[in-house]
């Protein structure tokens, strides 16, 4: 640049000089130049122009001798005109040694009459410096065609050369950058045709080398159609707006099949007039970066999770700790209030509690008794004296119960009883009493009896009422069962009647024979008695069965109960064209139940079984009634039929009230049966048989051994 400025300054100085020279050339103004001898004739004028022409001008004779050179030689080479004229082989001495051979040839050509234009070479200046120049030359001819040698013009091109070299260096640098940058670089014209790219991009695009891409569009490259369309859209936008699109994130399936994640910048290319003439794209493959980022994110997330888990763990532990603390506080609080609460309860409840001290001689006295005693019994605690006084408060009918309870307690067993107490005003109240003995190991006897009693009169009344209703319901069920049995009963009574009549008539005949057969007559009469009793028994049991009575549970022999209803069951089976079979195991425990109700259940189950088998062929209807001891010690009575069985839907609902499968059924039989079973502490359930039909199981607990 400084060179350029320098050159410009020189130029201006030369122009100044030239102007001054022109002024001198005006007629009358021309000064005489001693050295050149320029005079006022036109040849002098031409010479003056030639001498002062800015570029170096010279004239060489056909024999190669320098005829003339202008003053510019001194500016360019440092050699004076005279020095040049003195050189024998001008201009070789002023040519740079490196260019001398080439230029000798050129000068030879010029001597031979050639034309030359702008042939560059280096000058070796007088001071040893080097200067780039370019030489042009033409042959000169006289008017008569005679050869006058040639003229040459040497121009200083050092500035141009410098600029060219600088450009060259820049180009090389740019090429190096484009080649080695780890990005895909490419540029396209306005028609989206590639004008060039680097090797990296060529690889991605699947072209052999960068040169091969020139002239192609994206349609002809390895991309997938959507990618091509996307590239085109981006290019169009850049071309249309003239603005760069930066940081486009895109994925690109490259020629080798790999899908690369790219970060792309597209910038407009502009021509000398500033018009957008193409697009330059730079793709940075960030796949690895992305993968690393994803990995980093995963690692981060995992860390996050671990932190969360650990935090949750800590929180849970914290919670647990807090809960434990709260629980402890609560327990302590509960303990504190418990005592208070018991006190309130004792005051408010209808229960009273008591303790009797038992003397070694068996006598007893009240040790303490809660206030509720007076409210419940209408008596003062002073009414409590020795045991016989206590007994006086008890309803006479319940004396045996209370006495038995006292005996149990003195024997060291707990006792729970219900008995009636007569208040001072004569009102009778039911009490539930629960007492336990306190056994003294050293004295080896009961030293104290602790107990609590509760007024259960209201409950008793309600219970009584419920029992009455239930009894009425049970009775209705029995009457209805019996209604279905009338025909069988007629037959059942008919059998003994027939036997009786037949035996009586036979006895009469036996007595008319001669001699009368006394032995056979007696046998006939015995049978009459037996079967008369059999008929009476049937009637009797029937009357019992149909009697409306309060259920009274007693300790029962299950075998007897089944035998009692066997006749009715057999009659029913006969009516239904079925056989009935009883299997009663000998080790049955005694149960505590109302016999009529137990019979009712069994007959009901028998009837159900028989009715279930009505759809089966007559020869195959067989009912089995089993009674066994259960592992639990109780008794179980099973009634199994060989009917068609029950569908799931029916089985699920069969213990519901008013659910029936029979056209005339009420749907209460099993409900009542189950309620009876449960009122006896037992269970009634149903299972399907492995083969045909179903089995009903009536389980009853064994009667307690000390029960009457």
């Amino acid at each position: 640049m400084s060179d350029a400025r320098h050159t410009k300054a020189e130029l201006l100085a030369e122009v100044q000089r030239l102007r001054a020279r022109l002024v001198q050339l005006e007629p009358g103004n021309a000064p005489v130049h001693a050295a050149t001898g320029v005079g006022s004739d036109p040849q002098d004028h031409f010479r003056a122009v030639a001498d002062y022409t800015y570029d170096m001008e010279s004239w060489v004779a056909p024999d190669g001798r320098l005829l003339w050179v202008n003053l510019a030689v001194e500016r360019l080479t440092g050699y004076s005109v005279d020095e040049c004229l003195a050189m024998g082989d001008y201009p070789l001495p002023i040519v740079h040694e490196g260019d001398r051979v080439r230029m000798a040839a050129v000068f030879q050509g010029a001597l031979a009459g050639s034309n030359g234009n702008d042939v560059p070479f280096r000058l070796r200046c007088k001071d040893g410096s080097v200067r780039w120049v370019a030489v042009s030359w033409q042959p000169l001819q006289a008017a008569d065609g005679r050869g006058l040698g040639h003229r040459s013009s040497i121009r200083d091109i050092s500035d141009r050369k410098e600029a060219e070299e600088a450009l060259q260096a820049h180009r090389a640098l740019l090429a190096t950058i484009i080649t080695h940058i780890p990005c895909g670089v490419y540029w396209k014209d306005r028609e989206f045709r590639y004008r060039g790219c680097n090797a990296e991009f060529a690889r991605a695009a699947g072209v052999a080398d960068p040169a091969a891409i020139v002239g192609k569009t994206d349609h002809e490259l390895a991309w997938e159609p959507e990618q091509t369309a996307w590239f085109r859209r981006c290019d169009e936008r850049v071309l249309a707006t003239g603005e760069a699109l930066l940081h486009i994130e895109e994925s690109e399936r490259q020629a080798d099949g790999r899908v690369a994640q790219l970060l792309t910048n597209k910038v407009p290319l502009r021509d000398a007039d500033g018009q957008v003439c193409g697009v330059l794209g730079v793709d940075t493959d960030v796949s690895q970066l992305k993968a690393v980022a994803a990995e980093l994110r995963r690692a981060h997330d995992e860390l996050e999770l671990r932190v969360q888990a650990r935090t949750a763990e800590l929180a849970a532990t914290n919670d647990q700790l807090r809960r434990e603390i709260a629980e402890r506080v609560r327990v302590e609080e509960a303990l504190r209030t418990s005592e208070e609460r018991y006190r309130h309860v004792a005051e408010l409840t209808s229960d009273f509690a008591y303790a009797f001290r038992i003397a070694p001689d068996g006598s007893s006295e009240a040790e303490w008794i809660t206030d509720a005693f007076a409210r419940v019994t209408g008596r003062d605690s002073v009414d409590l004296g020795p045991p016989h006084r206590l007994l006086e408060l008890v309803h006479p009918d319940d004396h045996p119960t209370v006495v038995r309870s006292v005996q149990l307690l003195l024997a060291g067993k707990s006792s729970a009883t219900e008995f009636r107490m007569v208040r001072r005003d004569g009102q009778v109240h039911w009490l539930h009493n629960h007492a336990r003995p306190e056994w003294d190991e050293t004295a080896h006897r009961v030293v104290r009896i602790l107990g609590a009693a509760q007024d259960i009169s209201q409950a008793k009344l309600a219970e009584e009422e419920a029992r009455r209703h239930q009894a009425a319901l049970m009775h209705m069920a029995r009457v209805s069962t019996m209604g279905g049995l009338t025909a069988q009963l007629a037959h059942e009574l008919n059998q003994p009647l027939c036997t009786i009549v037949g035996n009586a008539q036979t006895a009469q005949r036996l007595l008319t024979t001669d001699p009368p057969d006394i032995a056979e007559t007696r046998a006939a009469l015995d049978d009459i008695v037996t079967h008369g009793n059999r008929a009476a028994d049937i009637i009797h049991r029937l009357r019992d069965f149909l009697r409306l009575q309060q259920p009274t549970p007693v300790v029962l022999n299950v075998q007897r109960v089944i035998e009692d209803i066997a006749t009715l069951a057999e009659a029913d089976a006969r009516q239904h064209g079925a056989s009935i079979h009883f299997e009663i195991s000998p080790d049955l425990p005694a149960v505590r139940a109302d016999p009529i109700q137990l019979q009712q259940i069994i007959l009901n189950l028998v009837r159900n079984g028989l009715e279930a088998m009505m759809r089966m062929p007559p020869g195959t209807r067989a009912l089995k009634v089993q009674a066994q001891r259960e592992d639990s010690g109780g008794a179980v009575i099973r009634v199994s039929d060989l009917g068609p069985g029950l569908p799931e839907a029916v089985a699920a609902r069969m213990f519901e009230p008013f659910f029936t499968t029979k056209p005339t059924g009420l749907g209460m039989g099993l409900v009542i049966s189950r309620s009876i079973a449960e009122s006896h502490g037992g269970k009634l359930s149903m299972t399907r048989n492995a083969g045909r039909g179903v089995t009903f199981h009536l389980a009853l607990p064994a009667a307690a051994e000390d029960e009457p």
């Binding site: 007629a490 008919n494 059998q495 056979e520 049978d527 006969r574």
Partner: protein, 211 residues
């Protein structure tokens, strides 16, 4: 030959022990022999088919009923007359039983004479049936002693042909036919032509043989 009443046995099948023993005692009191069974199956297992007699049968019993037994006995060569007794007075059932050849249908309780009369009638019927069977067996036995030629001649005689016609048909002399005829009369123990025809028919010789 003994009388039917003497030979016959009264079989009683009833599941009710009281009724069973009572009928047994009643039957024995009039000098008849009796066997009792508590079920149809028991009777089928133990009954001797060669034994003639009659059956006193309860209609309705667990397992196989009286009507089932009647059905099973229908195929017997010598039928067993059946008296049904029932506690139910089921008319439809009675009609069904009678249609199948029951002798009687008596409702419990019954007068002893009603049952005893029915038993006597049934035993008499059993004796008749037994005698008929006996006669049929006799005739068969005698027929079995005839030669094939004699049987051929007998068939034509039963068909009512004269000796001459028989000789012509069999391609032999009338004298020969006469000889066969007197021999087969002797073998069949027939003293007249009607007696011979009756015996042949009892024994199952077809009246109209294939020519």
């Amino acid at each position: 030959m003994t009388t039917g009443a003497e030979r016959g046995l009264v079989f009683v099948v009833d599941d009710d022990a009281g009724v069973r023993q009572m009928i047994s005692r009643m039957v024995r009191s009039v000098g008849l022999r009796v066997e009792t069974y508590a079920s149809v199956q028991e009777f089928l297992d133990l009954y001797d088919r060669r034994q003639t007699g009659c059956l006193v049968l309860d209609v309705r019993m667990p397992g196989l009923s009286g009507l089932d037994l009647q059905e099973r006995l229908a195929g017997l060569e010598v039928p067993l007359p059946i008296i049904f007794i029932t506690g139910h007075g089921d008319i439809a059932m009675g009609v069904r039983a009678m249609k199948r050849g029951a002798m009687d249908f008596i409702e419990k309780p019954f007068q002893d004479q009603v049952l005893l009369d029915a038993i006597h009638a049934a035993l008499a019927r059993a004796a008749e049936l037994h005698e008929a069977a006996q006669a049929r067996d006799d005739a068969r036995e005698r027929l079995a002693t005839l030669t094939p030629r004699e049987r051929e001649v007998l068939a034509l005689v039963v068909d009512g042909r004269a000796n001459k016609q028989i000789a012509a048909q069999l391609g032999t002399a009338e004298q020969t036919i006469k000889m066969h005829r007197s021999r087969l009369m002797k073998k069949m123990d027939a003293d007249s032509l009607p007696a011979l025809v009756r015996l042949a028919q009892l024994g199952g010789v077809a009246a109209n043989p294939r020519r």
